[in-house]
Point group: C2
Chain length 177, copies 2
């Protein structure tokens, strides 16, 4: 007997599920979803427009979203169905699975014997600065959020970003070189 849907393995992938999550706030177009995903999740889950349309099409076929009529520029709004909400909840409670962390700089460092030292310094400096900027941004965001007096739960992802960037910077400063 095949147990599809509400089983351990959810019926949607993480990207699709994220879209369902956003759609809980009301119908939206693919473009709008892509923009919101970028703004609200982009720091820890990248989603491109192409993915959005692909996943929406797939979910429409399976009845997880409903497609509205075409407006200007062929724009269509997508609406969350009850099945879609159920799928979202199923995904939400399923096993998240392992992190994917791919750091191109690390791969280079695995072959560091062969990197010209001056060039290495450049590469490292560039990356470090990018991380530093991100940390600054996160900290400002955190301050803003805290000033607004929001529930701590809403800053959990932000806190992760801060911890991550701090760790990376310490690695740069204390372990490298």
């Amino acid at each position: 007997m095949v147990c599809q849907g509400s089983g351990m393995t959810p019926s949607v992938n993480a990207t699709a599920a994220a879209l369902l999550g956003l759609l809980r706030d009301g119908p939206q177009s693919g473009y709008g979803l892509a923009r919101r995903a970028q703004e609200e999740l982009g720091d820890f889950w990248s989603v491109t427009r192409s993915q959005v349309y692909r996943e929406l099409a797939g979910m429409a076929e399976r009845g997880l979203v409903e497609v509205g009529d075409a407006g200007a520029r062929d724009r269509r709004d997508y609406r969350l169905t009850d099945e879609g909400l159920a799928a979202f909840r199923g995904w939400l409670h399923a096993d998240p699975g392992p992190d994917v962390v791919r750091i191109p700089l690390l791969l280079r460092l695995a072959f560091v014997e062969e990197v010209a030292p001056e060039r290495l310094a450049e590469l490292v400096a560039e990356q470090r600065s990018a991380h530093e900027q991100r940390l600054t941004r996160y900290r400002e965001l955190e301050a803003a959020v805290q000033a607004a007096g929001v529930d701590r739960a809403d800053t959990v992802t932000l806190r992760f970003g801060i911890r991550y960037e701090e760790a990376v910077l310490r690695w740069f400063d204390e372990d490298l070189g």
Copy 2:
């Protein structure tokens, strides 16, 4: 005028480049490369067998590797060519590009209002334990490497892993809940 090859954008992707890097130690079969990649790079750069064969095929066409004769089970050794070594070096000195960090647990936490608290605790506990185990393994590895009296440069990637896992654990323990 098109500047291909030695330009800013390298002619191989990171995965292919990693294979070239491994091939510097001498010819090897696809299977052997996949095993070595898993062992030596797997902690920060996952490579599957299928990728290995695809990239090798592509690089063979472009003359970056040479294919030997078929042995038992159709096994063929691949050998690094001068062009391949040049491509590797080109990649090594090119801009690494940004990190890819995708953490399924974080995506769930972005929708945490809707997660059942008991289930949330389970999910978190499972993930935390996985990270803890990894940290332990890294520390043991580091101790072993240090005991062997190896150059510090060889532990840079390991140090990153330790920093990362430490940060994640602190996040679990101090920011979550």
